[in-house]
Symmetry: C2
Subunit: 356 residues, 2 copies
Amino acid sequence: MELTERKKKILRAVVERYIQTAEPIGSKALQELTGLNVSSATIRNELADLTELGYLEQPHTSAGRIPSPKGYRLYVNELMEEQRLSLEETKQINDALHLKMRELDKVIDQAGRMVSQLTNYPAFALAGNARRPTIKRFDLILVDSASFIAVVMTDGNLVKNKLFRLPTDLSEPQLQLLTTLLNTAFVGKTLDQLTPELMRVAEHAAGSSYGLISLVVSFAMEVLDSMENSAVYTAGTSHILDHPEYQDVGKAQKLMAYLSEEQTIAQSLALPALNDDGAKILIGPENVAEELKDSSVVLASYDIGDGMKGVIGVVGPTRMDYAKVAAKLSYVADGLSKLFGTPELPPASPAQEKEE
Amino acid sequence: MELTERKKKILRAVVERYIQTAEPIGSKALQELTGLNVSSATIRNELADLTELGYLEQPHTSAGRIPSPKGYRLYVNELMEEQRLSLEETKQINDALHLKMRELDKVIDQAGRMVSQLTNYPAFALAGNARRPTIKRFDLILVDSASFIAVVMTDGNLVKNKLFRLPTDLSEPQLQLLTTLLNTAFVGKTLDQLTPELMRVAEHAAGSSYGLISLVVSFAMEVLDSMENSAVYTAGTSHILDHPEYQDVGKAQKLMAYLSEEQTIAQSLALPALNDDGAKILIGPENVAEELKDSSVVLASYDIGDGMKGVIGVVGPTRMDYAKVAAKLSYVADGLSKLFGTPELPPASPAQEKEE
DNA sequence: ACTTAGCACTCAAACTACCTGAGTGCTAAA
DNA sequence: TTTAGCACTCAGGTAGTTTGAGTGCTAAGT
């Protein structure tokens, strides 16, 4: 059953006002706010209907109305206007995104912080793998006779390294041999396949080189492991306290505690959203997690190629400004997708400028 | 002027009780608590003296006493007993420290989290350089004709890498040449010296290779930059809300906001403590930062060799359990120092076991 | 010179009663 | 269907009261 235009207008006004003030709104205020040329009594009747239908709630008999989760849902689905970001805002986002290192986890972390700062809500960000990562290649670099650097590259073109120092000496040819061995035996294997393979190799390998192999392979395992269980970065949890719905320290505490359980966030919130495109909004009781039953979550996923996807999300009171948050979140998510799509700067012609 | 033994005993009881309960304590309760065989009236007289001397405070005329910052200071300096960690606790710390990747920033982050979890206070951790870091060597690894990995090692033996993809082709000899060039021109230079050097090289270098050089060098600059302005990792800020002194949301908010200003923490708190060994305790007004005037900070520094030092710290109410916190913090700091002192596992003899 | 019992005093916190006013629901007329 | 009018509700604020933990002081005891 469709609501009448007037009811929608009123509902929308209630939601938008409540988003701003966090206070129940009454018939008289709505009269002005909606611009409808009807008396407050008429609005009262409409409000009674909307309450009956479950779109609005009354904190107590003699207070104004506030939107119910169902009301927010209708608002988000039908009444909310797409928010366009201002030029400044897009610029700010772009700058922040393009600055600094392009190390995957740093960028993700950074993106989370930025979103939080931009929206004034706590935010989180993570990356996940659609398929199981494998090692694509090994390189060993001799530093001096007692240490070398292992460089490991995954099939997702993520590169990690580690410096190893040894109590014994090591020569370039030895290292060469080792590299070949690693690249023949362990490339293309997933995390689980590495251990058995290592055992198989153990039987053929000579004494001291086995020790080295297992060192490097366990490093590779660490890398794969950290990719499979990718970290969740949270930022701006203190913003929770900005909002009157969490003035009750107990509530704030619960939500904060939840936000620091990174595992839970990843599995129950983010992963389900990995494959949905665009922004996804979860309002109050629509959330599975008990701790989020009276908060809302806005999620956006991004695609960084090579089978890796990520999710970035914002948590706030049900009263949060969905339009703005969704717009900003989507923009950042798009930005991330593009960022990881573009190649490095081309080898340019020699620089001519010589300013200070 | 020295306090009498009895006064000290009473002061100590007040501090220790207040640390537990966060409530003012009166003469009668102290009578039992101290085990002194005197009447409450006598204790009242002593309390009056201690208050006069500035070691105790009265929230209001008819409440018990609480320790003043000066009281805490005396307690910390003279009355506090060195806390010994239980076997479980040391084991817990050791396990956490030795597990997982030994990537510098990850470990530091991890250490901060652990301390926070261990003490139930917010914690932070950072590493700082005593001297300016320089690049020690460059290595370039050809991946395929259009991409290569740059591996950069600093004089502190920190190794970082980055994958570059190019729109043009690249050959092994080219890369070799480039490596030599980088290693002759840019090794041993600090961040500031890199740009001028780059310009100088620009004049001699051929067209397309200059583009590549500047790519790699700017990556090296990013690395040096991130080392000089090393990140501050904070963890467990939500623990603030556990303590009754921050039930007032306003206060909690201020402290949290402060804790997220990583720059400020680094400069005003951590750096000054870099060179002090052992645990350092800053009580309430002893803190320089306005935001910390009624909180306390416990700091411990650690040494990870190669001119790098770090600080790890805990923030809490003045009423925090200094003995426990200082003990745990020092233990973790020592652990970190040792962790970075030990070399890698030796290349062992070939494994014999074959259990599942 | 210290210790102690006794007692009047203080004051935050908890409880009560009361008032106010924004906002409602309902009715009866337009 | 809309509107004016009115009785009704109830959270939140204000003011007065009670309670009790804890004090400071005094005067007597060791």
